[in-house]
Symmetry: C2
Subunit: 338 residues, 2 copies
């Protein structure tokens, strides 16, 4: 298996991301294909160790538009990555760059799975129990049919990649009752209830940290706000615990007794632990790593890409949604014919 | 000033809420008008202490529909409360019951401020710095004009009741850039930019705990999810800190050193501290207290109702939005003519 890694487009220097990629190649038995400027990547090429390089002359920045990788920057690292996937020169792609550019390059060059209308970001949130948010930001506006597909994709990912049996699918809403929500979520509720998914109904955000569901279905606007609020509250928690222990000489001594536990807690709150987020609905595995990924996050993201590729779920998406497309008019409520 | 208190419709027994109301009457120099069943409230009547009672024979439960207070239960405590406001027998109303029923009873019986199209819940969240979310749940779907009005009402409330000078108004979105958001939030962005509010642009939820804005403008669906997630993460934080200190004999000793600080932290995370949420846009002050309000929360909610009534902001809403209504077609972007 060969995993293409866009080493140019994160917030950190390419060397940091390359460090993670080299460790991943060593530990996970995969080949890595470093995409970047010749002067940056060439010196790492080492076929014996499964390290390959591919040149890309420009970089899509966080300020560039989502379509820049297709239009003016078609020689950028993310655009080259998408072409490698398309041409079967790589089995999966990992990028820490501009999310919109990654999704549009993947959607347009690699294409979506037949029958899937919108690709979605599935971000795994590590709280008491990990759960996956689909969509975590790709689609600010959605239709019920999109949400239903997000639910199916998220559930398969949770089962096959995260190892959660019969994952509980929850629909994010402003109340648990069926009548709560927007017209879009209310219609989606009906579809999910009739599907073969393990649908647990509307879920409220207050119950997310305690693990009310394994797959959280929502539009990308709400999902993004949910994800970033969990992140922000985690940081608030770290700050608050810090200032708690700095209060007096006694609390400072107490800190020494709790240091190990506090570090463990920090690690749990450290989003980098889960590396990156799958772009669900693309016909090849694509992982969006955090913009601020360090070597460790990139290492984890490459592991995720490998698991994603090995899981066979893209084939499963194809089977499920192609069948659905065939019977679209009468079968929209249950894309899985199982 | 006389504040009507619906003592029947919270999760706790009426006696608990009455306890808070009696303390409030004693401490804040207001009269309270306890609304409830005769056998519950009559024994507390004491005109010398400013305690009055009003009978209501039924209660709108959390399961009842929003319109039940208007239709089948027009003798319920919340419906009676709304009529007291309408007939000028009370200057403000506090209820811990069904939010939808409170808002519809208030909107229909007391009426909205002229020119305001939707009443909104303004919930004050106590993190590093308090900020107010408008709308925190009344309107799952909104138009840009509604969001603009929520911004104006929230800013006035923040200034006059919370005492925040020139409050920073943020629009909740999935990115700080102007181009981020849904079609509704993007249009709202333009209106807010042209208004005389201290608009700080789109804000991301990850920056909320650190106090990125004083007024958070959003639809009631997203606002409700944001509010409940902050609440849920606060509980998660409490649980996690607890288990951290239970780890070993040393961390248990450390707990003793930090006990006071931990209690302070808990208090900060305790939503009850802020008592309740104003229903903004009604022509009389209405405060929604938490469903699970205890005596202390009710006490705080009555203080809020008093501050709300004394602030004069409802008159200010009337001036601002009536002017706006007069020039509606050309002036929708800046309802304040100042």
């Amino acid at each position: 298996m060969r995993i293409a890694v866009d080493v140019m487009s994160g917030d950190n220097p390419p060397e940091e991301l390359i460090k993670g990629a080299l460790s991943a190649a060593n530990d996970f038995g995969v080949e890595v294909l470093l995409i970047g400027a010749s002067e940056v990547v060439d010196k790492y090429a080492d076929e014996d160790k499964g390290i390959y390089v591919k040149h890309a002359n420009t970089v899509v920045t966080m300020e560039d538009s989502a379509l820049s990788a297709i239009k003016e920057k078609d020689d950028s690292s993310v655009a080259v990555g998408a072409m490698l996937l398309k041409n079967n020169e790589a089995d999966a792609l990992v990028s820490a760059g501009n999310t919109g550019a990654l999704i549009s390059a993947a959607s347009i060059r690699v294409r979506r799975v037949k029958g899937i209308r919108r690709a979605a970001i599935g971000t795994v949130v590590p709280l008491d129990k990990p759960f996956i948010i689909v969509d975590a930001g790709a689609n600010p506006e959605v239709l019920p049919e999109n949400l239903l597909q997000f639910a199916h994709m998220g559930a398969l990912y949770a089962e096959r990649v995260l190892g959660i049996k019969s994952p509980r699918v929850g629909l994010l809403s402003n109340g648990t009752e069926e009548i709560k929500g927007t017209p879009i979520t209310k219609e989606t509720y009906g579809y999910l209830k009739e599907s073969d998914l393990n649908f647990v109904g509307n879920v409220e955000s207050r119950d997310l940290p305690a693990g009310i569901c394994d797959v959280l279905v929502c539009d990308g606007f709400t999902g993004n706000i949910t994800l970033k609020l969990i992140e922000g509250m985690g940081k608030f928690m770290s700050r608050t615990i810090n200032s708690l222990f700095r209060h007096s000489i006694w609390t400072k001594i107490a800190y020494l007794a709790c240091k190990k536990e506090i570090k463990k807690l920090r690690k749990r709150l450290d989003a980098g632990e889960y590396g990156g987020a799958p772009i669900l609905g693309i016909s090849k595995p694509v992982i969006k790593a955090h913009g601020n990924s360090d070597a460790k996050s990139m290492y984890n993201a490459i592991r995720q890409a490998k698991q994603f590729a090995e899981s066979g779920i893209i084939q499963e998406f194809e089977n499920r949604f192609r069948r659905n497309t065939a019977n679209e008019s009468k079968d929209v409520n249950s894309p899985s014919a199982d």
